[in-house]
Structure formats: C-alpha cells, structure tokens
Symmetry: C2
Subunit: 251 residues, 2 copies
C-alpha cells in the first residue's frame, strides 16, 4: 500500500470577534477557508473563535502558530477602537507596530490625504517585519508575519485576500474524497461492517455523516485519503456493503 | 453608574468533526448555540472545532471545561467507528464508560431488541455519573457530566437537546443590545468619536461591524451591556454622532 511521503501541511483558523460569539453575525469565513484548504491539499486541523480581547487573541495566536504550518486569522483589522488584531499579533510575536508607509500608500488610493484621519491610519498599523496582503475592495491591507496570515472579517474581502495568498502557500498532497450515498439506511445497520472496512484500509479515513431531510435520515459515507488507489479500493468495498444492505431492505 | 453584580455565566462550544474541518459540511450549530446563550444571559466566550481524534478532543474538553461555566459539545455520538466523543469525554473526566441501562431503554423505543446490534449499543455507552439528555427525534441520547453537555451534531437533534437543557442552566443578567445603522458612513469617519464614546461608557461594549451589500458598505454600530440605562445612554450618544455625520455627508 502506497503511503503518502510528503509531510502534511497543516493549518488553523482564528476567528476574532464578539459579534460572532454573540450570534449577531453568523460566520461564513470558516467554511470558505476550509474548502480552500481542502482544495489545495492543506489539512485544516483546528478552528477557534475568540472575543475582541487582547489576552484571548494573543494566547490563541501563540498556541496555534506554534502548532500548525499556517494560521489564518479573520476579523478585527478595521479602523474602530474594537479592532485590535494587528496590535495583538505584534504582541504575540514580540515586535513593534507602527504606521507602515506601504500600507499608508494603499489607503491613499482610496482616501484623500485630508481624509486620512487618525482612525483610518490605524488600518495602516502593521507589525514590524510583516508583508502586506493587498485588499482590492477597500484598500486597507491584511498582512503576513511568520506563518500567520491576518485577514479581514468581511467575507468578500477575506475571499479576495485568500485568493492572493493561496499561490504563496506550501501545499501537500491533495486529499481526495469519495462520497457513497447510504440514503435512509440507518447508520446502525452498517456501522460494524464499516468499522471493519476502515480497519482494513488504514491509509484512508472513513466517516459516516447523518443528516436529516423531510423524508427522514439521509446518511452519507465519505472515504478520504491522499492515495488515489487506496481511496478507490475502500470506496468499492463501501459501495458493495451499501448495495448489499439496500437490497436486503428492499427484499 | 450601576454595574452588574451577578457573576458572569460563561460558556464555550466544542464542535467535533472532520467533516466540518474539511469544509464538506458547513456548521450550523455554533450560530444556534450562540443565539441561545445570548438570549438567556450566558456569555459565549470561545468556540473550538477539532477533528475526530481522541487526543485532540480530550485536550479541548479539559481546557474548556476548566475555564468556563459550561461547555457544549456537538458531534461524534452516533453508532459508527468515527463517533468517539463519549469515550473521549469519559477519558477527559477520568471515569469509566459502559452501556447505560437508561440509554439502552431509550434506544429500545426506536429499535426492536433484535436490531439493537453492537454498533447501535455504542450509542448507549455513557460515562459513569452522567445524566442523560433525551433525543426526541432519533432516541440516542446526549448526556451531561459535570459542566459538560454532550449533544448530537445533526442540527435538528442538537436543537431539541438544547431546548431541554436550557431550563437547567444557571443564567446571568441578559446582555441587551441596540443596533445603530450607520449605513454607508465609512467607519473611518466615525471611529475616533466612537472610541471617545466607548471610553466614556465603560460599562457597555461598543462595536462597529462593516458588511458589504451590492450598494457598498453597510456599517452597523452595536451597543451591548447588562445595565439597560447605560445601554440607552450610550445608544443615544451614538445616534447623535451618526445623525450629525449623515447630515454632514448630505450637506
């Protein structure tokens, strides 16, 4: 059995914002970044959502950047007093933060010099040593420092920033996935046999995901792995199992 | 200024599931639980999403249950081999886990005794000392142990479980929130004045939340706090600020 040989490239997401924790805003960025990582062969391994509080943000940045290849943050880089992400990331890295001339130049593409007040200049405050991530929509940039990518919380801007940083990321072997529709076959009817298949195919991961529709449960079995042949072999076994059970139910 | 005197009741959410991290399934439970907490006066302080891996789950359960009044988990309590939440929670608490007669009785409401195979009995495995949370939809229960509430990942079932545990929770003073529509006023035009208002009203928290529509930015300012009078006072100041700036823009 061929095992993947390239080291796994891993990532975490840190969502920063009281408005997500209060439920007032429903996050859309986690799903977008998760899809993006899967598409380019990065294993998203953890997500955290924390409030707009310096100690919480610094702690999470340091915990996650130490543990994963990349950390993507969203939120808290606007001009208002509750936007403290850049300062917290600087604190986490132990570097200074000040108005960055490159970032200021970007803001001047949108704002007249006389409109670049103190609040707007906050958006040009960038930790020392960081590279900028351009913001084609509202100009205020994100940035990369070390393995941390700091992006906006507004989904359209986050997406634009993600599209830019994507090509700069190291990626691993893409995880291939195949879905077998188990339909209304109860999970309990196939769980034992599926566990046996999972045991016999240890280079892939096999999950069973129930969901509910108006017609009752709609269960899906997903086979995931980096070795295409191994995925196909396991998929075939799962398909045989599901076909046998469906026939049994129908008969 | 009246400060809230009751101690804050806090909570965290732990979402367990590879399928959320892969992007294949988009989580809906975080927003539901966040809204629920806000409505009953519980401060949701952190969310984590971790994969279906024992070490990750145990670590997160122990980190979060030690730190917050309540921990709500979703996902991983079905009958298949990748459903390991109950075992991990037992490990986190250092207690044994076995088939619970009360949980088995619940499963027998749905399944004939001859259909209660080994896989389905997995759903009756409950850590020692836990109380059950009934599942009116598919019967397999969740459970509470200490300050940890273990619920299903299927949103309709999670919601039904949440409705049951809600009345058993200690709650704090409800956080009141008032939204002031800043519309297309740029955040940078009101950020400095808003920071002054925030400084002068320290018993409330004031946030500014940009979002984008087809017509451009649509910014909202939210004043949150437990002291109704303080919220109203700060809200009035923010409304005056926004009205003044809108007039300036129009004039």
């Amino acid at each position: 059995m061929t095992e993947p040989t390239s080291p796994a490239i891993t990532a975490a997401i840190l969502v920063i914002g009281d408005e997500i924790l209060s439920g007032r805003t429903k996050d859309k960025n986690i799903g977008t970044i998760a899809d993006y990582c899967t598409a380019i062969g990065i294993d998203l391994r953890q997500v955290r959502i924390v409030p707009d509080e310096a100690a919480e943000i610094v702690e999470a940045v340091n915990a996650l950047r130490a543990r994963y290849t990349y950390l993507f943050t969203t939120g808290g880089i606007g001009p208002t007093h509750d936007d403290i992400t850049a300062d917290c990331v600087a604190a986490a890295f132990g570097v200074t933060i000040d108005v960055d001339p490159r970032a200021k130049a970007m803001l001047l593409e949108r704002h007249k010099p006389e409109d670049l007040n103190e609040a707007r200049l906050r958006m040009a405050r960038i930790p020392a040593g960081a590279d900028l991530i351009a913001n084609p929509i509202s100009k205020a940039p994100g940035f990369r420092i070390g393995n941390v990518f700091v992006m906006a919380g507004v989904p359209a801007i986050m997406q634009a920033m993600l599209d830019q940083i994507g090509p700069t990321l190291d990626t691993g072997a893409r995880v291939l996935s195949e879905t077998i529709e188990a339909g209304n076959l109860p999970e309990g009817s196939y769980a034992s046999a599926l566990a046996e298949i999972a045991k016999a195919h240890h280079s892939v991961s096999i999950g069973s995901y129930p969901s509910m529709t108006q017609q009752g449960f709609a269960n899906r079995i997903v086979v995931r792995g980096k070795d295409a042949e191994a995925v196909v072999r396991a998929q075939a076994e799962v398909e045989r199992l599901v076909a046998r059970l469906k026939q049994g139910t129908a008969g």
